[in-house]
Symmetry: C3
Subunit: 267 residues, 3 copies
């Protein structure tokens, strides 16, 4: 086995996989650090969608080894004055544009340090105005993995951009939330956690969930318990309530997409 | 060069690539075994489709180095009592739910040993009911690669689930088979091998193939020999007869999908 | 860190990711060279589209480390007499069918040596007529990375196939070009470089661009400067003029696809 742990660098982008972009980023990293372990977390973040990017990296990063460097590029402001930042949080590093795409990381970690990356001698030259994944974030990630001195990339800042993830709101007997994501199986990930609606998990059946104009009234433990053709609630793997179907596509059946309202009525 | 061969772990799943799932699995593996060579065989197996998963891993595994660990997660029964299994077969290892997804491996290898993975101390904790790719199969794969003692993961079983891949059936002058898969080019992979229809390969042209209500009457050696706009038969790279077109899409042209009947009439 | 740089092998193919093909290729490489760094540049080149393949590898290769081996398989002539070739150019290696898919590499590099790969003992046996990515190019790439003697794979040839990338043409006050590619964001990559239309970059606004029956009259420095709903021109990251929109999809809005004419009228 190799004598040292190879450095891990992950990619979370909205570049898609229909052209060379993601491959080119990996080339830039390997030219600096040929032994890097490069892992795609997801290159199909919804285009320019900062919330989707925030949810993607926020659900994944903590499963990686300590000191992993996560490159997160959802960057509608590429080429403007928006700052590239280097964040250390929860024993991980992150490189991203300063547009809030790390907001879920900021929520989960309690030791966040953010630096404005200004050490331009690490950037590719000439530098484009449209592809900083290649020209800025990839080389900085590789040099950070190689040299390991975060402070050499720029000064700490405190006015970085962050937003709060949407939280359910309670009024009378109802709690109103939202569909955060539709996964590959058509399951609807909502922003409810058990803390928001402990009664759902009490097992006495005194609730209903309304989404897409339809009612969901059962909560089950695994997908196979679901009756054919019927939507149900289930606790998903990231700690959020999901609306799902057993071997069916809940999003299609309910006619619901990301952003749809989800109302839990209790009692 | 590194002093030892890095362990290879492959992934075959129906998770898709639109969210963090596959990336998170890789993180779990790398946290245990940072030098792992992780390879995606396919993360676009048709959702919950055990036959499609079986065909995917069955065509690929034998091209990997000996002792490769293949993680195969097509798992509609996740969270139920269905067993996670560790299989050794043909000098390879496989981790999968016990639902038949390794049936093609069982057909090809003659030294199959199946264990019920019960060593829960290797699983992630807390363990979800919906994402055992992350919580069960990934950590077991990494610990197996690291420690190499299959017997420490659970007892051998013999009542594992297997199914027979669909085989062509002969009646009178006709042999009836099926489209197993439509590939990226629209080629139709059928379940005929040369053994089922040796006359097709005899070169005397005394056959016709009926699929999607249309007739195919030529068998050729390479795609370029095909006349424009005409479907033909060809021996595919996994040993199955294909129906294909030269720079055309046979599935679309013939209006045929996976599962369609294919009839070879002889003489 | 490992004592030596692991060899890098890249893949650029039209195989897609819905089946085992790309995974199987990686297995073949790893069986020969387990420590290879295998990187996907793109496996979604348009099916059998040699120009799209040429543009993909041509934009990416130069960002990889020297001595990287690039496997480029867009191969409608697989199984015919078309030659497999091994090319060294610009301190990189390339393995591809001799059909012009390396034409952009030939344009960019000035030290091109092309060999006809005839050393069949490196090929897999039995060899299919339909999947030379697995049977020819993957094992040759791995053995080349392992042994490093390009000359042992076959004799140099000079009659290899190359084509010229489409270039804009000037007539009167107009320069006529074409859309080479539509990227993941719907941006239109054209074949104009600043050299073809220096007046566009002069900043005096005396030009119009016509594409899809619509006029584009502004050129800006970054995507965010674009007014909502309005298409604009911008210099893209590969040195070509792009037609794009700020958080919009130019291809969809303009009703334009790859191959569409783009006319720049000056003065």
């Amino acid at each position: 086995m190799p004598p040292a742990r190879p450095p891990v660098i992950t990619l979370t982008t909205d570049y898609g996989t229909n052209d060379h972009l993601v491959g080119t980023i990996k080339g830039v990293i390997l030219r600096i650090l040929p032994e890097a372990q490069i892992v795609d977390i997801c290159n199909h973040v919804l285009g320019c969608d900062i919330l989707d990017g925030a949810l993607t990296i926020g659900q994944a990063y903590n499963y990686f080894p300590q000191k992993t460097i996560h490159v997160v590029v959802v960057d509608p402001g590429v080429g403007t004055q928006r700052r590239p930042i280097l964040v250390s949080a929860g024993m991980h590093y992150f490189l991203a544009p300063d547009n809030g795409v790390l907001s879920m990381v900021y929520e989960k970690a309690d030791d966040v340090v953010v630096r404005h990356v200004t050490a331009e001698h690490y950037f590719l030259s000439p530098m484009s105005n449209t592809f900083h994944g290649r020209d800025v974030f990839a080389p900085v990630a590789a040099w950070l993995a190689k040299n390991g001195q975060g402070s050499s990339f720029g000064e700490e800042i405190t006015d970085f951009i962050r937003f709060s993830l949407p939280k359910p709101k309670t009024a009378d007997n109802a709690v109103r939330g939202v569909v955060l994501k539709v996964d590959n199986f058509g399951n609807l990930l909502t922003n409810f956690t058990p803390d928001h609606v402990p009664q759902l998990f009490a097992g006495d059946g005194k609730f209903k969930i309304t989404v897409g104009g339809k009612e969901v009234s059962s909560i089950i433990q695994n997908y196979s318990q679901g009756a054919p053709g019927e939507a149900f609630a289930i606790l998903g793997s990231s700690g959020w309530l999901e609306i799902a179907m057993n071997r069916g596509n809940a999003a299609r059946t309910l006619g619901v997409q990301r952003g749809a309202e989800v109302v839990v009525t209790l009692g």
